[in-house]
């Protein structure tokens, strides 16, 4: 942690989502705020921000795109310039209506359930390949030996990047994602390397169009106009940033739960048809993603005097565990039948990759449970969770037996 993040003393008026305790175990923090007199916490850090914890508040804010802008969805000390709206740096996630609709619409067909279905067999084959490489070892790191690799390979395949480049490509991506704490110059270097790689791939696709997502984006039109090199490059960067550490986190958190809850693991091994239901419950209880919004004009929100340019975090994982929203919200009920969770957000920004992410998560669990039906946590103290807005295990030592 850097010096501008002193440890949090009072979560109600000085919260910080990068605090180590928040990364390790945010649930009691959300519970405390949610059940206090004011269920929306405040901090003066980051130039002023709010943290709602009730499902009703999180959904009301997600739906109110007039007062809560997506101009930036990642909270930091720096706010992107007002002129960035309504497109933002990475459409559609950073866009507001009316620009948002078109930028989102171009992406959706590539991520429809039908399109995603075609990727299932190759995803399963790749999971099996990763598993074969782990066989014979006693303890593996399920985060880096398994979970992390899956979304990287899937998106690289969709984009039509050379599979021989897999390792290089993963290094770029991980450097960019993990490098968020590095000084700006080092960060520019890793972004620069990724950018150069993407430029070469896009140029190659421009010269030799083929049947893949990169060519699809290069041909796509909004209102009769092609997207252009810049928009395509930014969208691909978004797909990498939005699709990789999120899915990696969801696969890892699910394996963490099953490794530390033998009853649930045994049940899924015995009843594999329950996996899709379990996937929804694991997504609910370990929802990896918290988004941010910027307040557009002064507003009194349920008694909170929100000011223009204040940040508001949308902790979908806290909303999913609100006892007013769901009975036994704090428990993982692997066969839960009523589960209106919002792990993929609510309203117009509903995760465009949700069908892909679900397929990856289900297939990754099915392949793992087939191969290692009796896995357990090798070292509970060796598990490390990422902090910030995407939460998942970054180190996950599992004994595969």
């Amino acid at each position: 942690m850097t010096t501008d993040h002193p440890p949090v003393e009072d979560w109600a008026v000085d919260f910080d989502h990068t605090d180590e305790r928040y990364a390790a175990n945010p649930f009691p923090i959300w519970d405390e705020i949610r059940s206090s007199a004011c269920p929306i916490a405040r901090t003066e850090r980051y130039g002023g921000a709010w943290l709602p914890t009730r499902h009703a508040d999180v959904s009301a804010i997600a739906y109110d795109t007039d007062h809560f802008s997506s101009r930036s969805i990642l909270m930091s000390a720096v706010r992107p310039p007002l002129e960035a709206a309504p497109m933002g740096i990475a459409p559609p996630i950073s866009s507001d209506p009316p620009f948002h609709g078109g930028a989102r619409r171009v992406l959706l067909p590539a991520f429809s359930p039908q399109a995603v279905g075609k990727l299932e067999a190759s995803t399963r084959a790749y999971c099996d390949e990763l598993i074969d490489a782990m066989r014979g070892r006693e303890v593996v790191d399920a985060a880096t030996d398994y979970a992390q690799n899956i979304p990287v390979r899937v998106i690289a395949t969709m984009l039509g990047f050379p599979l021989g480049d897999d390792d290089r490509f993963r290094e770029f991506v991980v450097e960019v994602i993990e490098g968020v704490d590095l000084p700006p110059e080092a960060r520019m270097d890793s972004m620069g390397a990724l950018y150069e790689y993407l430029r070469a791939q896009i140029e190659d696709h421009t010269a030799h169009p083929r049947d893949d997502l990169t060519s699809f984006l290069l041909n796509a039109e909004i209102d009769g106009e092609q997207l252009g090199f810049e928009h395509v490059g930014r969208t691909i960067a978004l797909l990498l940033l939005a699709g990789i550490d999120t899915t990696w986190s969801a696969i890892g958190a699910s394996l963490f739960h099953l490794a530390s809850t033998p009853g649930d693991r045994e049940r899924l091994v015995a009843e594999p048809e329950l996996v899709p239901t379990a996937v929804e419950e694991l997504l609910r209880a370990y929802a990896p993603v918290t988004m941010a919004r910027l307040v557009t004009e002064d507003i009194d929100f349920n008694g909170c005097p929100m000011k223009a340019e204040d940040w508001v975090l949308l902790p979908f994982p806290a909303a999913n565990r609100d006892p007013e929203f769901l009975a036994d919200a704090d428990e993982v009920v692997i066969d839960r039948e009523v589960n209106r969770h919002s792990a993929f957000g609510l309203g117009i920004h509903r995760c465009a990759g949700s069908h892909l992410a679900r397929m990856e998560l289900r297939v990754a669990l099915e392949a793992w449970l087939d191969a290692f039906p009796t896995f357990t946590l090798a070292d509970a103290h060796g598990v490390r969770w990422s902090g910030g807005q995407v939460r998942g295990p970054r180190r996950l030592p599992i004994a595969i037996g």
Partner: protein, 69 residues
Amino acid sequence: MISLRVKIDEASCEGHGRCYALAPALFEPDEIGNASVLGDGIVPAGEEDRARRAVANCPEHAIAIDAST
């Protein structure tokens, strides 16, 4: 005879896809992943539980279920 009928509010549906995963005999995805009701939305015998589960799991509260005569 009274049977159930499901209906989707197109303005609220955001394509989470819970309904067509839970009740594929009642709902199907369009090319962007939003849901439409199959046929006239009348729930055939034996599909009532799946219909109710779809309604109860839609994150956007976009599915209505009514008795239809």
